[in-house]
Symmetry: C2
Subunit: 341 residues, 2 copies
DNA sequence: CTGAAAGCGCTAACAG
DNA sequence: CTGTTAGCGCTTTCAG
């Protein structure tokens, strides 16, 4: 005669229906604010539901509604200061819409990237936002016809048929160079990682364009594309300075690199911007840190995240699988002038 | 005669069953690696499934299995450099276990905190990890009997009956003070935010304990508890210096504050640590940034996140609702000596 | 080894 | 306004 307390399993609409002496479909209507229930019944149902501590089972709802109220956000590394703001924009906008966001960190591993796409598909998310590791792999197109709204964020493969939200990187690169030029710097270099897809190339080409426009030569020696680590910026600039023949100003492909460059310059006993000016890209939080005070080209990260969600919302509303009428958003970068140039 | 292509809705096990000419329960068995299917059938099913691009519907599975393979992580602000590593630890450990993590950002809003708990419950997550805004609100206990594994992360209400993972904050405060004392500083101050629950109080009391142990007085004027912003550290130390009567060293309740303090000191033309030494708490990434090089008490953030997931896993395995046999993990803080003290 | 059948909790026609 | 009836896609007894 087992007598242990019944597993306090959550109340269902059936329990409510019994308690109210009505059918459970009426309960469903009442709770969902659908019409076709008398105000009396509705009130009664609500009271009972509350009394029982009832809350709906979103999984069951998701199964029948074919909408789970969830989104997937895939990023390389939440620990990289560029991504938290992107994630915040996504999370905030999504939650305002009643959507929950899965955080999927790939650790720069393309395999994990693919695995996560599959997992999200299985979980029946209502949309996927992908901040890809490399701008070259067409993750969405690879899986023949994604059956749900998808958008690339921050970086997008070149001829994708999916939606994306990116910054105008050419313009960003141009802006950086023009700023330097107008401040009187003539010999300007460009330092970045080599991987990163179109985004980097575009920043670089914006730089080249500006130089050409102002009739300034781009010296091959002054363009270095290695990797994205802070360390790397430090080393590159150290070598440049050691060579006794270095540019007057440097554009960094992102802020982390710029930070490394500043350190390198200071370590050599030189001054920023007097001996060498620096401008970064992204505007990560540390850039605005007093003692650092890095001039940079800001990407509107939070707004980018929000925009990505809005595209998903839009795509959902239009019943578009995701690749029929893609939305393309190209955000304007913003020059943030601080003290390094 | 409508002829538009049928919505390419995903294949189900029923489609596979038809194609294979068997019942769909056999398909389920085959796909799930359960025994009771001939190797022949299994292979056949797998082939067909692959051919149809089949993938399971995790929502349907979740409904019947009563396990969704999802976790909820509630944090105040992913943009605060303390949280990304916590989140990374959680995400990585969870994903290794095949679990997906919902990122829930509360923006320091207690109302959002509660709403998210409710939402996660509805979504039938298998566990909730909560890094609470304040150490005083017993979010889990407030909802009478959480029906699933729950763990507080980083900060826990005092007499909670739920599991938690925290750092030994008393020890951390003690460590900070002792380090300073042993380096010869005598007049030591303590700066922190006022809110933050037990964690702050504990750090403070660790500091007081060390001072007492070494027979050093704690001056009331040297203890300031305002808020957690970098700005605030900057202002507090500026005021101290202006008063011409300031401590020789300062313990900051977290690194952000410490950063502000360093700036303030430098701005006054003084030197760290010669004129005033500083030690922080947390070890956020910026702390190790060269030109900053902040000494601090590190919290093992990634491991803390991992530990929280492991507790959830444990609780799930033991079929514990969450408050029967809570697990308590108290991590050791680690002294990181850099150049500010 | 395999199939039939009963749900998981809920929504959504369809009758009344 | 309300109840009945099908499922959503899948797991899991229970018979065969």
């Amino acid at each position: 005669m087992k007598d242990r307390p019944v597993q306090p399993s959550r109340a269902t609409i059936i329990d409510i229906a019994k308690a109210a002496g009505i059918s459970y479909s009426s309960v469903s209507r009442a709770l969902n604010g659908l019409k076709g229930v008398s105000e009396d019944t509705r009130r009664k149902v609500r009271d009972i539901a509350e009394g029982m501590g009832y809350f709906p089972n979103a999984v069951a709802q998701g199964l029948v509604r074919r909408r789970t109220g969830t989104l997937g956000l895939i990023i390389p590394d939440i620990t990289n200061p560029f991504y938290p703001e992107l994630a915040l924009g996504v999370e905030e906008r999504a939650s305002r819409e009643g959507l929950c966001t899965f955080l999927c960190n790939t650790d720069y591993d393309p395999k994990k990237e693919k695995t996560y796409i599959k997992t999200l598909l299985e979980k029946q998310v209502d949309g996927i936002i992908l901040a890809p590791i490399s701008g070259t792999a067409n993750l969405f197109e690879e899986r023949h016809n994604m059956p749900l709204p998808c958008v690339y964020l921050g970086n997008a493969p070149e001829n994708t048929k999916y939606s994306y939200v990116v910054t105008d990187n050419v313009r960003g690169g141009y802006l950086a160079a023009r700023t330097l030029i107008e401040k009187g710097y003539r010999r300007i270099g460009f330092v970045s990682g080599s991987e990163g897809g179109s985004a980097v190339d575009e920043r670089h080409s914006g730089f080249v364009e500006a130089m050409r426009r102002y009739d300034l030569p781009v010296r091959e020696d002054d363009v270095r594309r290695e990797d994205w680590r802070l360390q790397s910026g430090h080393e590159i600039v150290s070598r440049m300075i050691d060579s006794k023949d270095h540019p007057e100003a440097l554009i960094a492909g992102n802020d982390l690199l710029a930070l490394g460059i500043i350190l390198g310059i200071r370590e050599k006993g030189l001054k920023v911007p007097d001996d060498m000016a620096v401008i970064g890209f992204d505007d990560i939080p540390t850039a605005s840190f007093p003692g650092i005070d890095l001039s940079t080209i800001r990407q509107p990260k939070i707004r980018m995240g929000e925009a990505a969600v809005e595209i998903i919302l839009d795509l959902i509303a239009s019943g578009d699988g995701g690749d029929k009428s893609p939305r393309r958003v190209i955000m304007d970068p913003e020059l943030v002038l601080r003290s390094t140039c």
